[in-house]
């Protein structure tokens, strides 16, 4: 990154500092209408907060229903003895997060002044709660004490570290501040009695074995340590490897992780290694070496049209394999069919790499990586599960919500971009097909599509072919979301100036190069706000999968927990909790998109 140009500024006008009293007068009580509005909305706000606090803190609330059922809400019926896989998954994500933070040099710092203001604000909010919440005097005093402690910590930070200009000097790295906050949360698992506990002889004793805190405090501590360890490790090695390569590697890992981690959660580790050694590995090698050789030859610069003819031959053979599969003419591993399609597509684009030896070898390397990854994924998905689970799917609760949302977003993104390109393309067939697809999907409610895919689609599938319920849901949801995504991207595509197309043409780029290097990046940059809006929508609307029988977060909170004999009819607590969960995730996405916009706005004219 280049250094920003430093402009010489002769003198900056003094910042007018206003006393709180002046601020209040200017912003809240400037004139009579303003005063009336302030009073009315202030009263409404206080009433609403009081009602909410009254609801949360009421003695009738049984928050134990939530704390005790946390496992159900997070992972539903996932067998407890296999939980190590879930933890492995979370641990991998933590390690990735730590490494990513290190590789991107998350160098932000939080000033002590800001932190102390936060602490003081929290204290002030506690004090406000203590005053307006409908609670007993005893607990009111408890809240006030907490508020006083927070306020004094904040004031202590403010005045204790006060530097030359009225504000405290010094700052802490944002990363470590966040780690510290997470550490406090983890520590609370060790100290605060969540769930079913009774206070007996001065000690909290677990009443039943179903509490979440006891079973997870150790794993969560390990997760926290992994996060910090990965970060420190990343900081340690980041000077020794080239940054761009490390970043590329991490991005690839992030994109592959949903597929690989899902495999870890879903599959039993001891599957048939003999089959792998006798069939899968030789097959992969055959395609990697044979296909690589073919591609190396096909990308010879002096080959001319023969390359394209051979590629079309490959494509016809690949298509024929699928037709044969549909009619059952001859058996063939699905993996072989898919690999032939991949080979044909690679052969079709091989003239683009017709260049010196180095470029062609790089092309072949890309092919070998593609074969390795695709064969690994196909093997992973094809190998049978030995996990025995109750319920319709192996995932449930928050993990199901996350799984469906992440996978749908990952899969619908490329599909949506392709559809948007198709709809704006000059080729009539692509345009008509994309338009028909987008408009017909947008004309159908999501619930209908989910019903179609989970209940009706299996009836149409050829004999012997099955689709797992979760796969059906994700497929339907992806197709639905892609249509909306395409429209958002199309908006971005239309905002790209005609001059950009002309400039790309004038320097001799081919249409696909123009699209990939010039048009789509600019279109996506413009579409960030609507795309994030849609991502939030996709995340929240995963709650609709409850209707087709999946046990997502909403269904467990609204129907499963209230049906337990112990917590019969206890519904509101769970609903409030999941509202908070949805809100936190959605709000984080929204915040992140603001950051992203700022960052990519760099080159903006």
């Amino acid at each position: 990154m280049n250094e920003p140009t430093i402009l010489k500024v002769t003198s900056r006008p003094e910042e007018v500092s206003r006393s709180p009293r002046e601020w209040v007068r200017k912003n809240l009580f400037a004139n009579i209408p303003n005063t009336v509005l302030t009073l009315v909305f202030g009263a409404v706000a206080i009433y609403a907060i009081r009602a909410l606090l009254g609801f949360i803190l009421s003695g009738e609330r049984r928050w134990g229903a939530v704390a005790t059922n946390m496992r159900l809400l997070m992972a539903q019926g996932y067998p407890a003895d296999q939980f190590v896989r879930v933890w492995f998954t979370l641990g991998s994500l933590m390690a990735l997060t730590g490494l990513t933070l290190a590789a991107w040099r998350a160098a932000g710092r939080l000033s002590i002044g800001k932190i102390s203001i936060w602490v003081m604000n929290t204290g002030a909010i506690f004090a406000l709660f203590a005053v307006i919440a409908p609670i007993s005097w005893a607990s009111r005093i408890g809240w006030l004490i907490a508020a006083a402690i927070l306020l004094s910590i904040g004031l202590g930070l403010w005045f204790g570290l006060r530097g030359e200009k009225k504000r405290p000097s010094g700052s802490v790295p944002t990363v470590w501040f966040a780690f510290g906050l997470l550490g406090v949360l983890v520590l609370s698992l060790w100290t605060v009695p969540f769930g079913h506990y009774a206070f007996v002889e001065g000690e909290f004793i677990a009443e039943s074995g179903r509490t979440v805190a006891t079973s997870t405090k150790l794993p969560f501590t390990v997760m926290w340590l992994i996060l910090i360890g990965a970060y420190l490790f990343g900081v340690l090695i980041r000077e020794r490897i080239p940054g761009s390569r490390a970043k590329g590697f991490l991005i690839a890992l992030w994109f592959l992780s949903p597929f690989i981690l899902n495999w870890i959660v879903l599959r039993d580790p001891d599957f048939d290694y003999a089959h792998i050694a006798s069939t899968d590995i030789p097959l992969a090698l055959l395609f990697a070496i044979g296909g690589g050789l073919a591609l190396y030859l096909l990308s010879k610069p002096d080959l001319g049209e023969i390359g394209r003819i051979v590629a079309i031959g490959f494509l016809l053979f690949a298509v024929f394999n699928w037709i044969a599969a549909f009619f059952g003419w001859y058996p063939m591993l699905q993996k072989v069919r898919i690999s032939f399609v991949l080979l044909a597509l690679a052969a079709l684009i091989s003239p683009n790499f017709a260049s010196d030896r180095k470029t062609r070898l790089r092309f072949v390397t890309g092919w070998i990586v593609l074969i390795a990854v695709s064969h690994w994924l196909i093997t992973a998905i094809n190998s049978p599960s030995t996990l025995e689970l109750q319920g319709p799917t192996y995932l449930g609760g928050f993990s199901l919500t996350l799984f469906v949302a992440v996978l749908t977003l990952l899969l619908s993104f490329p599909l949506g971009v392709l559809l948007a390109l198709g709809r704006t393309s000059s080729m009539p067939i692509a345009r008509v097909l994309s338009t028909v697809y987008i408009e017909s999907i947008r004309g159908v409610p999501l619930i209908t599509i989910l019903f179609f895919f989970s209940n009706i689609l299996p009836l149409f599938l050829p004999e012997g072919m099955e689709i797992a319920e979760l796969a059906a849901i994700v497929t339907g949801y992806t197709l639905f979301s892609a249509a909306y995504l395409a429209e958002n991207v199309r908006g971005g595509l239309q905002s790209v100036m005609r001059g950009q197309y002309e400039a790309a043409d004038a320097i001799g780029l081919t249409t696909s190069q123009r699209t990939g290097f010039i048009i789509v990046p600019q279109a996506l940059r413009v579409s960030i706000p609507p795309l994030v809006g849609q991502a939030i929508g996709v995340f929240k609307e995963t709650s609709l999968v409850a209707i087709v029988g999946a046990f997502d977060l909403l269904r467990i909170a609204a129907y499963v927990v209230p049906a337990q004999t112990e917590f019969l009819g206890v519904k509101r607590e769970g609903l409030l909790l999941i509202s908070a969960i949805y809100f936190i995730v959605a709000f984080s996405m929204s915040k992140y998109s603001q950051k992203l916009e700022e960052r990519v706005g760099l080159g903006e004219r």
Binding site: M1, N2, T5, A354, S355, D356, K358, T359, M497, G499, Q500, E502, A503, A504, D505, A506, I507, G508, L509, T510, Q513, F517, I518, P521, Q522, R525, V600, L602, G603, E604, R605
Partner: protein
């Protein structure tokens, strides 16, 4: 005329014969016939809407002509995609609105086409880009984004980007019209150096000083037709056509 002299001694780079172009019912080019020789610098003048930009854009087929023939460096422009790609990699173009790629750094703007069209190795392309940026006088801006540069700097980057493909012909479509007055000179200086270096150039511009000083030949267009052509001295001092005289009296 110098065009004829050039015709005899040098090979023809651009040959247009009876080129017609319509936008719907509006005829933008009417039987344009002209030949531009190697290393020749031709300035195209004319009032706005006279078809000069349309003509220059037909030469690398950003616009398709409908009648007549255009032969660039021995290749005729038809709908055949390979011919178009071949010609575009030999013809550089500089636009009025620069049309730099805003999401790429200056260096990436310049190296993109050599890397992907010429398949030049990355290090070679970057070395070449740095040389070209040096040549247009802004080597220190390589890591910036176009939006961080002034208009004149952006236009010079655009020239470097076109030159990176080592074109045999450079087309300039009103390269200084969108610039603030104090930045025009820096762009014209680069273009003058280019002309002195022997580049075949076709320039649509309103910069009469540039035309007078640098051009080998001036072509005057109006209503899609070539009205008059000749050497700058002939054109500015002793025009034959009334329409030319009227135009010159309006702008000089």
């Amino acid at each position: 005329m110098s065009a004829e002299i050039a015709h005899e001694t040098r090979s023809d780079m651009i040959v247009c014969e009876n080129v017609d172009k319509w936008f719907g019912d509006f005829q933008a080019l009417k039987g344009v016939t002209a030949t531009i020789a190697e290393q020749e610098v031709v300035v195209v003048l004319g009032p706005s809407g006279s078809g000069k930009s349309t003509w220059i854009r037909c030469i690398n087929r950003l616009e398709a002509h409908q009648k007549g023939t255009i032969v660039v460096d021995g290749v005729e422009l038809t709908n055949d995609l390979r011919n178009i790609e071949k010609i575009r990699s030999e013809v550089g173009m500089v636009f009025q609105q620069f049309n730099l790629f805003p999401h790429l750094t200056v260096r990436d703007n310049v190296t993109l086409a050599p890397k992907w069209v010429r398949k030049m190795p990355k290090t070679d392309a970057e070395k070449k880009a740095d040389e070209l940026l040096e040549m247009v006088g802004i080597p220190e801006q390589a890591a910036k984004y176009p939006g961080q540069l002034s208009g004149g700097q952006q236009q010079r980057v655009a020239i470097a980007r076109a030159l990176a493909m080592e074109p045999r012909i450079m087309l300039f479509d009103e390269p200084t019209s969108a610039l603030d007055p104090e930045m025009i000179k820096e762009v014209l200086d680069v273009m003058r150096d280019l002309a002195l270096g022997g580049m075949t150039m076709m320039v649509v511009t309103h910069e009469m000083g540039f035309a007078r000083e640098v051009a080998d030949r001036v072509i005057f267009m109006e209503s899609g037709e070539i009205v008059e052509e000749g050497t700058p001295e002939h054109f500015f001092t002793n025009p034959t056509e009334d329409r030319t005289k009227l135009f010159l009296s309006q702008i000089l």
